[in-house]
């Protein structure tokens, strides 16, 4: 499995097949039991700081306000001063994520979806060159989700960032990705690799095109084959 720089890949597969684990291996958080991960020609042995990762849980820190949580990666990389300077940027990200006005709120006052959005903002704030996303939009309503998807595409294209997304939504995978990896159920293997050759930038109205429908169907069929019951 090779991710080209600037490419957008998705992984789709049944629950428990090892997608989160795969992501953790790619981030260098968990040692792989076999095989190796290479990033920009060098093997990944430990975590690297140009990776932005979002876990399935939001993992916000309760003692920091939302905006402080968001600038945390900056604070870690460049110190307090840089973090203070990044407040504007963080506020812009919050606006984008529909969290305007929640800057100084503590995370325990956020709803599930809001926490997830805040976690996305935190990942984006440091402009990482590789994004690893574990079901970032699962707790969002469709509308917000579509909007966030388009934002994500814009951000990745702007920065030529490499993204790797775990999702359960086939349309989401198709609209965002260059390649979709379908995983078979436990033990998870990559069952099929589907190249998505829709033109970039993608727009939401592509969803209604027949080509899009065909791709979705193809992936769904693939997943049905390995169905768990």
């Amino acid at each position: 499995m090779t991710l080209r720089e600037g490419s957008f890949s998705s992984v789709i597969g049944s629950s428990g097949c090892g997608k989160s684990t795969l992501l953790k291996i790619m981030a260098g958080l968990v040692p792989p039991s076999a095989g190796s991960v290479m990033l920009e020609g060098r093997p990944v042995t430990g975590p690297r700081e140009d990776i932005g990762m979002m876990f399935q849980q939001a993992t916000l820190f309760p003692w920091r306000t939302v905006i402080e949580n968001i600038v945390l990666p900056i604070e870690i990389r460049d110190g307090k001063k840089a973090a203070a300077a990044a407040h504007d940027k963080a506020r812009a990200l919050l606006d984008m994520a529909g969290l305007k006005g929640f800057e100084s709120v503590y995370p325990n006052e956020l709803s599930g979806g809001m926490a997830q959005r805040a976690a996305i903002c935190r990942m984006l704030v440091s402009e990482p060159s590789v994004l690893l996303l574990d079901e970032p939009f699962s707790a969002l309503d469709e509308l917000t989700r579509d909007f966030m998807n388009m934002e994500l595409q814009r951000i990745c294209m702007e920065r030529n960032a490499t993204a790797f997304l775990v999702t359960h939504s086939i349309p989401e995978a198709v609209i965002l990705s260059d390649v979709v990896y379908c995983m078979s159920p436990r033990p998870g293997r990559i069952a099929e690799i589907v190249e998505i050759d829709l033109p970039r930038p993608r727009t939401l109205d592509m969803i209604t095109t027949p080509k899009f429908g065909a791709l979705v169907d193809r992936i769904r069929k693939q997943l049905d084959e390995g169905a768990f019951l």
Binding site: P47, G52, M53, W63, S126
Partner: protein, 252 residues
């Protein structure tokens, strides 16, 4: 609280008038109350007890600061490093098990009969709970938070300061609460063991004179101070660990 107090004094009074316990062991509540007034009066009018009180307060204050600093540092060493956990912790436990009394001569030999040796002993007693609390706190962070910090490329130091320590605050405060109470006991023990012109000595003198009511009165004043220190820690916890429900109230 008042009820408990009344019940408590009631039992005390009943024990007293039953005549089962000699007044040199358990004085009557009235005698004790009288002595409390006497001591209070002495303190308020700037009598001879004010100096000792001030001395003990100083000891407690310095020892608490020292114990917090020391306990925190050692707690981080023990909780954060394998070296600390494996190599240092057994020594700390072993030292803490030792009767502190045995160290009094050493402290006095090195630090003299002044306030220093008492501060050292009180610090010694209060440090261990803070070490254990801090170390336990460092283990409290969950897997996801750890991984998140790794992906952010946080140094070990940053992970410690920005994640593990705040996460461990409730544990740290548990240790601090226990230590805050120990520091008072430690100062008095120190004064008992040698030198020191603090409240401990007043208690000693009263005790040798079999003036048990006075002993009780002095001890009650100490308790109030201890309570105040403890409450300060509780207040600090409410203030700094605001995200955790630290009270029973509003719970049911």
């Amino acid at each position: 609280m008042a009820t408990i107090f009344i019940v408590f004094v009631g039992i005390w009074y009943a024990t007293h008038i039953s005549g089962l316990v000699s007044p040199i062991i358990l004085p009557s509540p009235m005698d004790t109350a009288e002595e409390i007034l006497f001591v209070g009066n002495n303190l308020l009018t700037g009598g001879y007890m004010l100096g000792p009180l001030w001395m003990t307060l100083k000891e407690v204050f310095y020892a608490f600061i020292l114990a917090t600093a020391l306990g925190f540092s050692l707690g981080v060493l023990v909780g954060e490093t394998t070296f600390g956990e494996r190599a240092v912790m057994p020594y700390l436990v072993a030292i803490d098990t030792m009767p502190k009394v045995a160290f009094a001569p050493l402290f006095i030999a090195w630090l003299g009969f002044g306030i220093e040796s008492k501060v050292a002993l009180a610090t010694f007693i209060a440090t261990f709970p803070i070490i254990v609390g801090t170390a336990a706190g460092l283990h409290a962070a969950d897997e996801n938070a750890r991984m998140l910090f790794k992906t952010m490329g946080a140094t070990r130091w940053q992970t410690l300061v920005k994640m593990k320590l705040p996460t461990g605050m409730p544990h740290f405060f548990t240790g601090l609460k226990i230590g805050s109470v120990g520091v008072m006991a430690g100062a008095i023990t120190g004064e008992f063991l040698g030198g020191g012109k603090g409240f401990g000595e007043l208690i000693r003198v009263a005790s040798t004179n079999l003036d048990t009511a006075r002993v009780f009165a002095l001890i009650i004043y100490l308790s109030l101070i201890g309570l105040a220190i403890f409450m300060t820690v509780v207040w600090a916890q409410r203030r700094f660990v605001f995200w955790q429900k630290s009270s029973v109230m509003g719970d049911h």
